[in-house]
């Protein structure tokens, strides 16, 4: 029997999930701010930060889409064992995780409805690195402006134009996380 899928969860789930959620909430409330997410040890190639987000937010009520290279047996088993989340295609997903190229096209995901804009997917984008450089971010949660390295500014600007509908993004790299909700306005490339 393979035991890899049974390991790497939060050692102390209530406390680790509470700390991980605070980091995720701070990231979402302050777009562009880079926070640290620890506690999860998912099988490769998933990053510890993305693993912590999945353990903190996913359960049998939240279908997860694994995009591209992440759709491997070891990771499928790990998510199923630790969260019980069903693994689905992009159209049904509440959460999708993968590299930016693998997550395309963005219009495959749910963006909510005008009466229920919260019924939209959250994308966890695995990045090679996260730096406070690049596109200029303004909007709720940002004092004046801030900068964040984004995979595709034009696509994210199109997403922001859908407000109050649209996708929300977590960007993860190793044990670091930043967020880009649909409410953030973008300038530059």
């Amino acid at each position: 029997m393979q035991t890899e899928a049974l390991e790497g969860g939060f050692p102390d789930a209530p406390l680790d999930a509470a700390r991980a959620f605070r980091a995720a909430m701070n990231a979402m409330a302050r777009p562009g701010r880079i926070e640290t997410l620890v506690g999860a040890v998912p099988p490769a190639p998933l990053s510890p930060a993305a693993g912590a987000l999945i353990l903190t937010l996913c359960d049998p009520g939240t279908p997860v889409h694994l995009a591209g290279a992440l759709d491997v047996a070891g990771l499928r088993d790990w998510i199923t064992f630790h969260t019980g989340a069903p693994l689905v295609g992009p159209a049904q997903a509440a959460f999708a995780v993968g590299k930016w190229e693998d997550l395309q096209p963005l219009d495959a995901y749910r963006i909510g409805t005008s009466e229920y804009p919260d019924r939209s997917a959250t994308l966890i984008v695995e990045m090679p690195e996260l730096t406070p450089q690049g596109a200029v971010l303004t909007g709720p949660g940002i004092k004046e402006s801030t900068r964040l390295s984004l995979p595709d500014v034009a696509a994210m600007r199109r997403n922001a134009a859908l407000f109050p509908l649209g996708l929300d993004f977590f960007l993860t790299s190793a044990n670091r996380v930043a967020a880009l909700p649909r409410s953030t306005q973008l300038e530059g490339n």
């Binding site: 999930a17 979402m28 903190t56 005008s114 804009p117 939209s120 959250t122 709720p140 409410s183």
Partner: protein
Amino acid sequence: MSDYNFAYLDEQTKRMIRRAILKGLAVPGYQVPFASREMPMPYGWGTGGVQVSAATLTPEDRFKVIDQGADDTTNAVSIRKFFERTAGVEVTEETEAATIIQTRHRIPEAPLSEDQILVYQVPIPEPLRFLEPRETETRKMHSLEEYGLMHVKLYEDISQHGAIATAYAYPVKVEGRYVMDPSPIPKFDNPKLADCPAIQLFGAGREQRIYALPPYSDVVSLDFEDHPFEASKADHPCDLCDARDSYLDEVITDDRGGRMFVCSDTDYCRTRQAQGHLGAQLAARQEGAA
């Protein structure tokens, strides 16, 4: 610690609340439905705020609860004890020392910082509810940004009273999009909603809604060009600490017309008294005792 799971709620419930908080932050001012749980206190006692606090607390937090500004009322004391017992967190009455402040109907007088979270207890989250009782209709009105009815209500205030008579739960517009009920805070507190460095979370337990204001959000109190919004308070200094800038409660002290005005924010008042500020009635009493 105790025999309860950390912060009372089970993990699946906390995940559901956490997801709602994240969507609430992504769409500021929009009310996210959530599956509110039965809590060991009655609806109307802050079950929405308690559930949001439970999902947000970490063991490192220092927790403060205020009820109408006061740390020492039954509601505040019981919620503070609840989390002391079920989450093992430290508690405090000092605004500056707290990392999470759960509040019923006030925003503290002391300015909040980036490291703080303000959790509001909300009775009726829907600002349009008293104008339109059907949820299907108010939901449609929000989706179409159809807020004319709210302006009619404020206009009727002016036509009947000569001014906008709404004194609490004064409606605001968030980021130019959603009209939001700031919970029944006095309109004196409305300006503090905007451009606030802290994260503001709103929980309505009975009505099963969570909404949020990210830091530095644009929050505008609805008004008219010729009747601009005005934050008002009793025109009086505090009788205990002489503060002229804080929101005051009027306290009847006897049946012969005796009364006093005191800060509703007990921590603010206590801090000022400790700094040596002395209000008129406290000074008179100290003189009488001497």
